[in-house]
């Protein structure tokens, strides 16, 4: 077994390009897409704001918004940033009005206007309610707070569920992108490692080993262990790069997350064995793995949060998908701060998948003499 592992490691050292390609692609995709800030989050798009006298209150309201990051500048800086293209849109806040300055046409301008408008409208409404209460001889403060209370109660309840069944869900764009792409590209690395079993069987290397004193179980374990290590190493590198280079702390739970992702890598190894057992040759495997991996990533929420998916069929398919559980572990620990015990459910499901797929895969492989 040691000999087989060593041979695989030596081959890897001679030809690490596939591994490097997939690792590099995960890092580049996660970094570029996070930088584009698709879908918001992560501090929001920076918007320069010039605040005129008497409009300070509006600025503090705006700073509480999550979708955009409003930052104060003087008027000259605001104009210069727009002129130089450093910002698409800027805002001038006055006492009773606001101006939106658009440097470059973008869909964000409308959203910024809506956000600022909401702050002003709320303020005007509260002022009007206070004035009306005064005129009616009532306590203005009481009337305004009664109005706010009514608003916070809402007309109807909105319930949103996350994987753990909570009433609301949180989202960290950076964590999701890194996790999604790391889990997605790890499938390719692991699968191309496992398919070497098929290649070596076709080449006759396995027959040579079968005739030697090495046991068949050792041959499977060595090959699968190597594929696991390669895939897991890739995930480890990707997380470390973002931890040390981009300062993404994963809620100070990176080591815990990486440990809890071991069943994910094992489940992918097992899934790859199953696919290898079902195809007839490497060409079929390559075609199958491309289709399956992209489908798994889309259905499992690697590219977008599953919480925005409402189709019951897609949600059901997600439950059969190892990527979903891998992401549950990452998001659970990094965003919700869950412990190992609280994440036992996705960990157990991934372990079950690993055992089940390995059993079926090896059985089929032996039965079909692949």
């Amino acid at each position: 077994m040691k000999g087989i592992l060593l041979a695989r490691v030596r081959e890897f050292i001679r030809n690490p390009f596939t591994f490097l390609l997939f690792t590099g692609m995960s890092i580049v995709f996660a970094w570029v897409i996070s930088s584009m800030n698709v879908g918001g989050g992560g501090g929001g798009l920076p918007v320069p704001v010039y605040v005129e006298e008497g409009a300070d209150g509006y600025q503090s309201f705006l700073e509480q918004q999550e979708a955009f990051q409003f930052y104060p500048v003087d008027k000259e800086t605001l104009e210069e940033e727009l002129r130089e293209g450093e910002a698409d849109t800027g805002v001038i806040l006055s006492k009773n009005r606001f101006d939106i300055l658009v440097g470059v046409e973008s869909p964000n301008a409308g959203l910024i206007q809506q956000t600022v408008q909401e702050v002003y409208t709320t303020d005007i409404q509260e002022t009007l309610i206070g004035d009306t209460a005064d005129a009616a001889g009532m306590e203005a403060d009481q009337a305004v707070s009664a109005y706010k209370e009514t608003l916070s109660d809402g007309t109807f309840d909105l319930a949103v569920n996350s994987f753990s069944g909570e009433e609301s869900w949180k989202y960290d764009d950076n964590v999701h992108r890194i996790g999604g792409f790391a889990l997605f590209f790890a499938i390719y690395t692991i699968a191309y490692g496992v398919v070497k079993i098929l290649t070596e069987k076709r080449m006759g290397v396995w027959d040579r080993i079968i005739l030697s004193p090495v046991k068949k179980s050792e041959m499977y374990i060595a090959n699968l262990l190597y594929s696991f290590i390669e895939g897991y190493l890739q995930i480890l590198i990707i997380f470390s790069v973002f931890y040390f280079w981009r300062g993404i702390t994963f809620n100070d739970q990176m080591i815990e997350i990486l440990l809890m992702l071991i069943p994910y890598a094992l489940a992918i190894v097992a899934m790859s064995i199953l696919i290898t057992a079902l195809v007839k040759n490497v060409e079929q495997f390559n075609a199958a793995i491309s289709i399956i991996t992209v489908s798994l990533a889309m259905i499992g929420g690697a590219f977008w949060p599953l919480e925005i998916v409402s189709n019951p069929v897609l949600l059901f398919l997600a439950k059969l998908n190892p990527i979903k559980y891998g992401l549950d572990i990452i998001q659970g620990a990094a965003v919700y701060g869950y412990s190992f015990t609280e994440l036992l459910q996705p960990i157990s499901i991934l372990t079950l998948m690993a055992v089940l797929f390995t059993g079926i895969g090896i059985h089929l492989m032996e039965k079909r003499h692949i």
Partner: protein
């Protein structure tokens, strides 16, 4: 020493080997000859315990090895038809790897690797990656790997496919030397009649899963002792001429190639003058016409009506 007893192997609807009986004695070179698809590789896989027969038994030193293959596996070295090597490793690394899986260690392993490299003539290329080797060098290393654990029996499945004449000759000489100097028993499959004719003491000829002839080279060629093999050589053929040969009552087999027609006729019939007048009649420029000593190829043609490489 090693026997196949009434072996049959069926893959779904295809019966690859049908009731094959074969024995191999210590120190001999046994050839398994037949065209592609004859069932040679299946027979070799059964013989080396890689696949189980649908019916029949494999015996090594009179003991069945189908359920307990370990004693036979220890005694054989198999050279597969494919290049079963790691292309990203060097020749030496491949030998070290396969040596280790045969539990060879330390100085014994290194010494054996050096001996094999010497034997297959790759000592100077020991550090080169297999990926950079020519077809012939890969084939030589493929043989070397099978001999690492010093097997009693070397089973070679078409070891010279797709290589240059120089490498082929090197391989044939190496096999001959191993047999003479080390008394190694060799089972050699090929569809090249000349190789089997040159190397083997006894021959089994297979076609479409059946064993169609077996014995020493002389015994097999005796099959044609009552017949003549006539070779006609010319630059071009005429279809009417070929049709007339095929329809001739005294000609039992006709095999047409680009510049040669081989005929099998009864020994007592002399067709020379008739063939010469036929070539004149159809305007064929005859280059030669002679009776050949029968070859294994002719025997195969006689038995199946087809050439080995059809």
């Amino acid at each position: 020493m090693l026997e196949l007893v009434d072996i049959s192997k069926r893959f779904k609807k295809i019966e690859a080997v049908k009731s094959l009986n074969m024995f191999i004695e210590q120190g001999e070179i046994v050839g398994l000859l037949g065209p592609n698809g004859a069932g040679k590789s299946t027979a070799i896989s059964i013989l080396s315990t890689l696949i189980e027969p649908t019916q029949g038994d494999v015996r090594f030193l009179k003991e069945s090895v189908i359920q307990k293959p370990a004693p036979l596996r220890k005694a054989i070295g198999v050279v597969p038809q494919e290049i079963a090597l790691y292309p990203q490793l060097s020749a030496e690394e491949n030998l070290l790897f396969f040596g280790r899986i045969y539990r060879l260690k330390g100085s014994k392993l290194k010494q054996r690797v050096n001996e094999i490299l010497e034997l297959i003539g790759l000592t100077e290329k020991r550090k080169a990656l297999v990926d950079s080797f020519s077809g012939g060098m890969k084939r030589r290393l493929n043989i070397g790997v099978a001999m690492l654990h010093n097997p009693q029996i070397l089973i070679m499945d078409e070891p010279t496919v797709g290589i240059d004449p120089q490498s082929r000759s090197y391989i044939l000489e190496t096999v001959k030397r191993l047999n003479k100097e080390h008394q190694m028993t060799v089972v050699y499959t090929s569809h090249y009649m000349e190789e089997v004719d040159y190397l083997c003491d006894r021959i089994y000829i297979m076609d479409q899963g059946n064993l169609i002839a077996s014995g020493t080279k002389e015994e097999i060629k005796q099959i044609l002792s009552s017949e003549n093999t006539i070779s006609i050589q010319a630059d071009r053929w005429n279809s009417m001429f070929i049709a007339q040969l095929k329809g001739h009552e005294s000609i039992t087999k006709v095999h047409v190639e680009e510049d040669e027609i081989t005929l099998i006729t009864p020994k007592e019939v002399n067709l020379f003058s008739e063939i010469i007048s036929m070539t004149e009649e159809y305007g064929i420029a005859l280059r030669s016409l002679h009776v050949k000593s029968p070859t294994l190829e002719d025997v195969f043609l006689h038995l199946t009506g087809r050439a080995l490489r059809d």
